[in-house]
Symmetry: C2
Subunit: 395 residues, 2 copies
């Protein structure tokens, strides 16, 4: 793929990909959400990579995190210089090998990257939903993904894989449609938010709602709540990094070597880095979507599917699990993953668990890590072989 000169020569890419759309729940048959509210029509933006096998037994569904989208890997055009968000993991010969597997990624319900969300057009009012958009849950996101798979004629997933909020969707898939999921890989995630995680999300939401431009969510005709959203992103970003990562990356290094500004410009490199992250983010993300998606993450509690017991919830699961945590992730620490693993084991499930030593905090699952690539490659290979042995499929 020599045309992608910006890629290392030894890096293979899925190349040019296309964002597609699937619409369902057209009137008069809306989607009924967890809350009881009705929503329709619902459009889901998605992309696929690799080739669906004739037996349709090589499907991997990747679920994205809070600010991700359907653009998992590759490029929309030759001009695009930045590949999809998991380019390091998804492609020919990579951890999730598109020479072997058919990979699907869709933008979550409530998002702002092509799927129906609060910035979508509301037929009932003739303007964007804003806060008229119903509060959706992780279960609603998964239901919409199920409808997409139905549409694509896919009855079983070789694996559902995702990190952070994507990991919550993996967990939800494993207990909501257990017969459809051969393997589940929740990365850097938790079965429910702690008070600390809820607190950070709430402060980020308050930052958006404190921006006068937010206008109770009706900002689509005027200035957007960019400043509030930027601060919200900065709050999130701080929680994604580890103390150690920040020390290594920034320490107390100054922007202007050796001299404090003695004003409120960015003195420290970490300050200008955060400001940049905030500013860059508002160019691509919708403030209301941030509100709705963080709310869905806060509401998520897998134990609720087991009447308060996590083991009870996993009693429904049939998948083989690979649970991965990262040593420096203080947002969803390893102890949270271990608790899930214990609950899975109580049900006699086939569980592999790995805590990867990584210094980059919660974000580690998105960064290049040979260990994670090898783990995924090996686990998927085993599951794929076992699936084919069971179903009597041939090489």
């Amino acid at each position: 793929m020599s045309q992608y000169h910006h890629l290392d020569s030894d890096d293979a890419s899925v190349g040019i990909v296309e964002k597609k759309f699937f619409t369902f729940a057209e009137p008069p048959n809306p989607m009924v959400l967890t809350s009881g509210a009705e929503l329709g029509p619902v459009t889901i933006a998605y992309e696929t990579y690799g080739t669906l096998s004739p037996a349709r037994d090589n499907v991997i569904l990747v679920l994205h995190a809070l600010t991700g989208d359907s653009h998992l890997a590759g490029f929309y055009s030759k001009e695009q210089t930045k590949p999809g968000w998991w380019e390091i993991m998804v492609g020919p010969g990579k951890g999730i090998d598109t020479d072997r597997y058919f990979v699907i990624c869709s933008n979550i319900l409530g998002g702002c990257m092509g799927s129906t969300g609060p910035s979508s057009f509301n037929l009932a009012t003739g303007k964007p939903y804003g806060l008229d958009f119903p509060v959706v849950t992780v279960a609603d996101m998964v239901e919409a993904q199920k409808r997409l798979l139905d549409h694509l004629g896919i009855k079983r997933l070789l694996a559902a894989i995702g990190g952070s909020l994507g990991g919550m969707q993996v967990l939800e898939w494993s207990v909501r449609f257990p017969e459809m999921v051969a393997a589940a890989v929740p990365l850097a995630t938790t079965s429910r938010h702690s008070a600390l995680s809820i607190a950070f999300n709430e402060v980020a939401r308050q930052s958006i709602m404190a921006d006068p431009n937010w206008q109770q969510g009706n900002y689509h005709d005027g200035a957007k709540p960019d400043l509030g959203l930027a601060v919200a992103r900065m709050i999130g970003h701080v929680t994604y990094l580890s103390d150690e990562a920040m020390r290594q990356k920034f320490g107390r290094q100054l922007q202007d070597k050796d001299a404090f500004s003695f004003n409120f410009d960015a003195d420290f490199q970490v300050e200008s880095y955060l400001r940049y992250q905030g500013t860059k983010f508002v160019e691509r993300f919708d403030a209301n979507s941030f509100l709705f998606i963080t709310k869905a993450a806060d509401y998520f509690d897998l134990a609720a599917e087991g009447e308060g017991s996590l083991a009870g919830a996993f009693a429904k699961a049939q998948a083989k699990f690979l649970v991965v945590s990262f040593s420096s992730d203080w947002l969803y620490p390893t102890s949270r993953s271990r608790r899930m693993v214990q609950a899975m084991k109580k049900n006699g499930l086939d569980v592999s668990f790995c805590e990867i030593q990584a210094e980059w905090g919660h974000d580690a699952f998105l960064l290049p890590n040979p260990r994670l690539s090898e783990l995924l490659r090996g686990f998927l290979d085993r599951v794929y072989q076992e699936e084919r042995a069971t179903s009597g499929g041939e090489e």
Copy 2:
């Protein structure tokens, strides 16, 4: 003190106290700050408790943290129901025993509780300083306190005691005026901010500066940046608590038992708690002061006084140290205190160190803790006796 019916009957209080003011650096003799900027006149609000001994050898200076003030203990009037911020520690027979010691607490330079700060009147412009106020440092705060002690005729401190930003002032006192400090007690503090601490402060500052009412700091004639300041406070507040404390206090408990709101009201108790903290804070604190004080904390780096070496900085110190950290404080973790203790020991200083097991995170130093009271009482008693033995003073 039966008139204080809101106090437990076995709780003694210093009772009614008075806020006093000391003004110096009158034109044409301004205070020259670390930055080189000049400031004057400078007023420092302060309070005293207990009685100064004839030998003037029983003086304890308490330094307050980010949002504290000079009102350490007692009440301004019989009508006041909430005592000073360290009532649990300062009073007759308490950890800092006002029957024995003469205790002074002043509002820091740059603050908004009576001392000169960005909300003070600027003689040069005829209006509040706003961002015309010069960026002050922890060293500047300490210099102003030194001027206050000179005014009060106090040449030596039995002890300087403070937590968090107050602890930074304690450290600064110990190396800036070593001959004046018999004992130094830095609590829950650090010799400099990590990138993570700077990051949280920066996001909080951005939240204030993102509020359109902030108006580049010139909000004194109009609406104040209350929303931005409230979010800033919430960010800070989350970092002051521990994951465990939040789990115990709130967990995932809902405001409205058993039911999600499916809107953006506060669902979880931790959410309404944070909103309350934010709202309450703006009633008493100035947004610009928040900017200036957090900047001073970020700039603070004791090692700079030792040409980059912490041990070099403490080479100047003569005080006996009691260093205290709290096990669940993730903002200024115990490892930071240990590093200071090592640097003190390299200089052969008399150092006691204690990590107190406490579940309340960084805020633990402000909460009732018999262990901390006993530690302080015992340490102060030892130092007081040793001081008097050295000086030949009598009981």
